[in-house]
Symmetry: C2
Subunit: 234 residues, 2 copies
C-alpha cells in the first residue's frame, strides 16, 4: 500500500462478551482508533468465519489487510506489541510470566470451577462453589498491598485478563441465583473490581450489566445442560 495513513484497525466483537471486552480495553489503553463491528452470534458473518475459521468466535482483531488475530489474550499481547502507548504487560520478565500464568489460570482452572458453581446442582455445585472461592482467594493474593491494580498503579494485562471477575461474575450470579464473590470473603478483590469497573477507559467499553443479563439469561438452560454432562466425570 502506498498510503501514509496507518492501517485501519477493526475489532469484531459482541456487546456482552467478556473476551471482546479484553481486546477493546487493550485498544483503548493504547489510544488506538478502531472500528467496532458488532457480530450477530446467531447468524455469524462471513467476515468472522473468514478470519477465525478455527473457532468461529469473537473477538477477532483486523489490522490492515493482514489475517485476523484471534483469541482475546493473544490480541491483548498483539496490541501491546504492535502499537505505541503505555505498556500493558509489565516490563520485568518474571512479572510478565506471573501475569501470563494467572491469566491462563483464569481461562482454565478458574473458569471450570465457576461453571460448576453457577450451573451444576447438588454436590457438584457445592464443590464448585468451594473451589471457586478458594481460587478467588489465590487470585486475590496476587494483588500487591497498596496497589490499585494487578498491574500496579495502572491497569495492566492481568487486570484485563481478570475483567470477567470484575464485571461478568455479577452477571452470571444474577442469572444463576448464586453468590460467589462477596465483600465478606474477598474484600480486596471486591475493592479491585470497583477500581477496575470505575476506571474511565474501562467504563467507555464496559457493557451495561442489566443488558448483558437480559442477553445471556436465555442461555441458562444450555449452561445447565453442559454442567450436567460435565458432572458425570468429576
Amino acid at each position: 500500500m502506498m498510503s501514509e495513513q496507518p492501517a485501519a484497525v477493526k475489532l469484531i466483537g459482541w456487546f456482552g462478551s467478556p473476551y471482546a471486552h479484553r481486546a477493546e480495553v487493550a485498544l483503548r489503553l493504547k489510544g488506538v482508533s478502531y472500528e467496532l463491528i458488532m457480530e450477530d452470534l446467531s447468524n455469524k458473518s462471513d467476515l468472522l468465519l473468514k478470519h477465525n475459521p478455527v473457532h468461529q468466535k469473537v473477538p477477532v482483531l483486523l489490522h490492515g489487510d493482514r489475517p485476523g488475530i484471534c483469541e482475546s489474550l493473544v490480541i491483548v499481547e498483539y496490541v501491546d506489541e504492535a502499537f505505541d502507548g503505555p505498556s500493558i504487560l509489565p516490563s520485568d520478565p518474571l512479572a510478565r510470566a506471573a501475569a501470563r500464568f494467572w491469566a491462563s489460570f483464569m481461562d482454565t482452572e478458574f473458569r471450570e470451577s465457576m461453571w460448576m458453581a453457577l450451573w451444576a446442582d447438588g454436590e457438584a455445585q457445592a464443590a464448585g462453589a468451594m473451589e471457586t472461592k478458594a481460587k478467588l482467594t489465590l487470585i486475590e493474593g496476587q494483588l500487591t498491598e497498596g496497589k490499585r491494580f494487578f498491574g500496579g498503579d495502572t491497569i495492566g494485562y492481568l487486570d484485563i485478563a481478570l475483567s470477567g471477575i470484575a464485571h461478568w461474575i455479577g452477571v452470571f450470579e444474577e442469572i444463576a441465583g448464586v453468590r460467589l464473590l462477596t465483600e465478606e470473603e474477598h474484600p480486596t478483590l471486591c475493592r479491585w473490581a470497583k477500581e477496575y469497573t470505575g476506571d474511565e477507559t474501562v467504563r467507555e467499553c464496559l457493557p451495561d450489566k442489566d443488558r448483558v443479563v437480559a442477553a445471556l439469561a436465555p442461555r441458562k438452560e444450555l449452561y445447565v445442560s453442559i454442567a450436567k454432562a460435565l458432572t458425570g466425570h468429576k
Copy 2:
C-alpha cells in the same frame, strides 16, 4: 546478592514429560547453563510443591532466589525474554500472535481430540481420530513452503510448542495401538517432525522413545478411564 555470578538456573522436570522438554529446549537454544532436577512424580518434592503450589506439576523454572515460573509455554516466553541468545519468538507482532494462537490450539482443542482418539473406544474414538487428523492438517498448513521449521529456518516458539506432535504422538500411538500421524496423510508434518527430532540441540534433551513408552504404559488404564468419563458429554 553481592555475587557477580549470574543467578543459578534450575529446571524441575521429568524425563518423559513433553512439557518439561519445551522448557529444556528453550534453555538450550538460548545457551543457558542450567541444572536439571528430575522430579519423582509419585512422590513430589517439597521444592516442586513450594514453587508450583497451584498445579503441582513439572516443569518449574527457578532463576536465582525468585519465585518459580510455572507452565511450559510461560517458561518458554520467560526464557526468551530473560536471556540473551537467538530469539525464540518471531519478531513481527502478527507472527508472534499466530505462533501463540497455534500453541494454545495445541494445548486445548488438539489435545482434547487426541485424548479421545487414543484412549476412548467405539464411536467416540472414531470421531476423535477424525478430528485429530483434521487438526493435524490445520497445523500442517502453518508450515511455510520451503521452510524447515514453523519458526522459519531455525526452531522457534511454535516448533517447541508442537514438540508433542514431533515425538510424543509416536509414544502414545504405540501404547494405545492407534495410528494418527502418517506419512500418507501428513507428509509435510512428518518431514518437519524428522527435522525437529533430528536437530542437534533438540536431540540433547529428547528422551528415548522406548523408555518413555515403558514409563507411561502403566498409566494406560488411567487414560482410558478419563476418556470413558469424558465420552458421556461429547
